[in-house]
């Protein structure tokens, strides 16, 4: 068994162990969950160190045939695009578990679902076979349905149903597309991502277009691409904060990651959809920003800002050049940190004040200086202030877009301006203003909360000042991807 299989199955083993533990032993349940997520993170760290960033090809590949008739295989591997995501999935799962101590009811099921979710997310990023990919893609749905529907807020049932229906609706298109390609490749053996890229050359143009369209819809729901974002605000608002962290930090990136793979597979079709994608990216940035500015619920604000930020990822992908794709991959990691930190901090604030209405807060900087520092730094990263990882990512995505479309990028700068306005509005309403008596007894961050927030915000700042390791991680693979998609 290779390191990837060990990494992938560790959370699953943890989940199984939880399943046979009695639900009465809260302490041992938490202990098992934390241990296994820490173990997974440790393995991910080891993987990160062993990973050779200079190689563009898949590394640590594992392969054996599952079903010779269909040609599906258990095939794992990482390259420069999936490596950061694998690491982020392990890191954010660990962080999400760290702040899960506020969940009091049904903890056995909760931790079981969370570990299962981690298993599914890792699988999505590790799978190198479309059939396997699809399986993991759907595996993530089940635990999420329960996590939102059982441990969520007051509208949790609507939210979880909404989420599952939207995603399933998209997945159907994805499934049809995947089935359509796989029939071309039966003789060469299976639905491997690598071999499928070869087989697409024998397809007609129309077929390629239709297939990519299906994949765009499937991945677009998850990412989300405007106008398929309807599930996102509700799900993010209603989910418990640890789950919101994973939703925005990793789940959205699954869509972007899949899209990147799909585009590498169907470069000609990608050229065709390029203008449409960039327009959708522009709309997402501005539309998300406008909505974020107006929200009174803090979580809804962060949720809409996610739509805006994922627009930047889409812009980077749609630019189809090296700088832009680097920007997309960087933004996936950057937004992983930023959105996770935002949902973490907002969640912690909610636990203390039991309100998420932004108008209720005031002058929190007096009573919670540490919380204020972390939140402010995260919001500054959200608006792409230099010195944060958000800036490095946006810089690449926009520079890539500028190389492709030149002056049209002036429109995108509107999106950046909007992000500045909603971020600064949030900072202003949370931390300044007239002192309200109710907000004078909010406790500041302590213990594990400080640790979690410190990891995420530390990542934001350190990668903003020293982004080179992160950039180098994906550089070779992106160069390789670029040779695939360049006309």
């Amino acid at each position: 068994m290779g390191i990837l299989s060990i990494l992938l199955w560790t959370p699953a083993v943890g989940a199984l162990l939880l399943a046979i533990t009695s639900g009465q032993h809260a302490a041992s349940i938490r202990w098992i969950a934390h241990t296994f997520s820490l173990l997974t993170l440790a393995i991910a760290c080891r993987l990160l160190f062993q990973f050779d960033a200079n190689q563009s090809q898949l590394q640590f590949s594992e392969f054996f045939i599952l079903n010779p008739d269909v040609g599906s295989a258990y095939s794992l591997g990482v390259d420069g695009v999936s490596m950061p995501m694998v690491f982020m999935a392990a890191l954010l799962s660990f962080c999400a578990l760290l702040i899960s101590h506020t969940i009091k009811n049904g903890i056995k099921g909760y931790y079981f679902c969370l570990l299962l979710l981690e298993f599914g997310m890792l699988g999505v990023f590790l799978a190198q076979d479309w059939a396997l990919f699809y399986v993991f893609w759907e595996v993530t749905l089940i635990p999420l349905f329960f996590l939102i529907g059982h441990w969520g807020g007051s509208r949790r049932h609507a939210a979880s149903l909404n989420f599952v229906l939207y995603t399933m609706g998209g997945s159907i298109f994805m499934l049809i597309s995947l089935l359509a390609i796989s029939q071309y490749d039966l003789e060469s053996g299976g639905s491997l991502m690598a071999s499928l890229s070869q087989s697409t050359y024998s397809m007609s143009r129309t077929e390629q277009l239709l297939i990519l369209l299906g994949l765009i819809i499937g991945f677009g729901v998850k990412m989300p691409i405007f106008p398929l974002h309807g599930w996102l605000p509700l799900a993010h608002v209603e989910a418990p904060s640890p789950v919101s962290i994973l939703l925005s930090g990793i789940l959205l990136k699954m869509g972007a990651y899949g899209l990147l793979r799909a585009i590498a597979m169907l470069p000609q079709a990608a050229q065709f959809f390029q203008p449409a994608l960039v327009i959708l990216a522009l709309i997402a940035m501005i539309y998300g920003g406008l909505l974020a500015w107006r929200q009174t619920d803090l979580k809804a604000m962060v949720a809409y800002s996610s739509i805006s930020h994922m627009g930047i990822v889409l812009l980077g992908i749609a630019s189809l050049n090296e700088t832009g794709m680097t920007g997309a991959v960087l933004q996936m990691t950057a937004h992983g940190f930023i959105a996770a930190a935002m949902f973490l901090l907002v969640g912690l604030l909610y636990e203390r004040t039991h309100t998420r209405n932004i108008q209720d807060y005031s002058s929190l900087v007096q009573v919670t200086p540490r919380f204020a520092l972390f939140t402010t730094l995260t919001l500054f990263a959200a608006m792409g202030l230099p010195g944060t990882v958000g800036f490095v990512a946006e810089l690449h995505a926009l520079a890539g877009g500028f190389q492709q479309w030149g002056g049209w990028m002036a429109l995108f700068s509107l999106g950046i301006l909007l992000s500045a306005s909603y971020a600064i509005r949030t900072v202003g309403l949370l931390f300044t203003g007239p002192v309200k008596a109710k907000m004078q007894h909010v406790a500041d961050l302590t213990g594990p909360e400080m640790l979690t927030a410190g990891i995420l915000v530390g990542g934001i700042v350190i990668l903003g000042v020293m982004p080179q390791p992160l950039i180098a991680l994906s550089e070779a693979t992106i160069t390789h991807l670029y040779t695939l998609v360049s006309p």
Partner: protein, 606 residues
Amino acid sequence: MELLGWIPFFPLLGFLALVFFGRSLSKPMVALIGVGSVGISALLAFLVGFELLRGSMAPYRLALGSWITTGDLTIPFGFYLDSLSMTMLFVVTGVGLLIHLYAAEFMEADAGYARFFAYMNLFVAAMLTLVLADNLLLLYLGWEGVGLGSYLLIGFWYVNPDNGYAARKAFVMTRVGDMALALSLFLLFTELHSLDIQTVMERAQSEWKVGAVLPVTAAALLLGGAAGKSAQLPLQTWLPDAMAGPTPVSALIHAATMVTAGVYLIARTHVLFMLAPSAQTAVAVVGGVTLLIAGFSGLVQTDIKRILAYSTISQIGYMFLALGVGAWSAAIFHLLTHAFFKALLFLAAGAVIFCFHHEHDIFKMGGLRKAMPLAFWSFLIGSAALAALPFTSGYYSKHEILLAAFETSPILWGMGCLGALITGIYSFRLLFVVFFGHQTREVEAAIGNRMRIPLVLLSVLALFGGLLQIPLDTVFPASIETTLPSPSPWVSIVTLMMPILGLLIAALFYLTGTLSSTAFTNEPIKRLLLSGWGFDALYRTLFIHPFVALTRWNKKDVLDSPYLRTAWLSRKLHDLTRAAQTGRIRWYAASMAWGAVVVIAIGLLS
């Protein structure tokens, strides 16, 4: 020379120390860290500066490490020192140190003492990064950093929502300019494949033709960025509101350093502007118009700090005018002298506010000459330099600008002269109203040495700073005032007489009372000027109201409705089909029979 890298480091260190340990430190300790870190930077700056001056003035580069490297995008943390950045370095650390020292006393009673110095140090570190950066992206880092510092410090007294609003306004409005700057960075990088300032300038010179589209676009975008930061038309409206911050902040950020960053940016990229004559003309026009409209607004303000704010906008207008007519050295020279006298004026105004019941309205003051002699003399010197009375520092720099403007266009010169007249009027109006006449109330406090020393030193600089000789010729091409024959003597005489005329007018109105100001002012015009020409109202109707209306309308995301309709439709269909399931056997039997008939009929007929 290697010490250059440490100059921004100490304020940054001070910032970190104060952020993490500020709450547990005593006030003298906070002051020691806050002022001391800038003090060390100033010391290092002077050491490095003298070394540069002693040598051949050859630019010095220092690479500290790499920041971002992807493909052909290589951004190091690198500093570049030539006489231009050295001048800025002296202003930021020198004037900055004096203001920090002053603030150590001015802010002493404030509960947020440590927070104040943390922000101030952050600002200084960012400003030093801005002026020393050898590439445009690092410059942009400093550029956004000073914007952040400005935001934090304008809203320093955060309990009052008005201050928060002013801070947000400043941040977002300058960010409009920043977007233009960012776009010009993208343009330069895409076309010239570098962001290193010197490389970009060399490549632009060799690859682009004078007046071509690309240099004009790039320069125009840079101008947009500069206009935002330097509060020039049409992005000037944030600066008067920025006076909500503590007075040392206004002196440091909104007079001496940050607001002149736009001037520095254009001077730094002057090669590009020389390739784009139309953009350069635009710089001159922006400067000329701004200096007039801000000057007129300054005439009617009653808040002591707002008068100075409008005056700052107006004086930066002069710098833009100078840049626009190619008098690069004159622009930087005026930046330098302006830093001296405007910092002096703000600090003196701060002293008045500090001692006089925190009053801002000049008409509630009066006769303070006797009670506050130091503030009076500082104000006198500062106003004289601001108005450019002969032999003060402001005289040398402004005179140079106006003569250069005359060579380019007599219209620009005329605007500048009119502006000089207005400057004379409003600066002496302020002086006469506050310090002459009779005193209404007693002064409640006295200022200590930490506030006195900066006032004295800045007074000396404001008086004699005009005699400083900065060898800017190594950076800029020979300025036109040296290459062209000097204009006819009457131009010099008119230029010289304008401020004096202004002084006399102000004296007639506000000192002797010979003329009454109420007879001359028309109420609507006065209100227009008071509001800064109604730009705020204009932007509110043009941008803010539509924006708010749009977001309010779409708060619930209209795009949900198609999906909700789908849900609604399936529910209706569900109801419809459910209606058939009545549970009555007769219905079922009847429908079965009818169904059989239909099926058979179809079978027979087809």
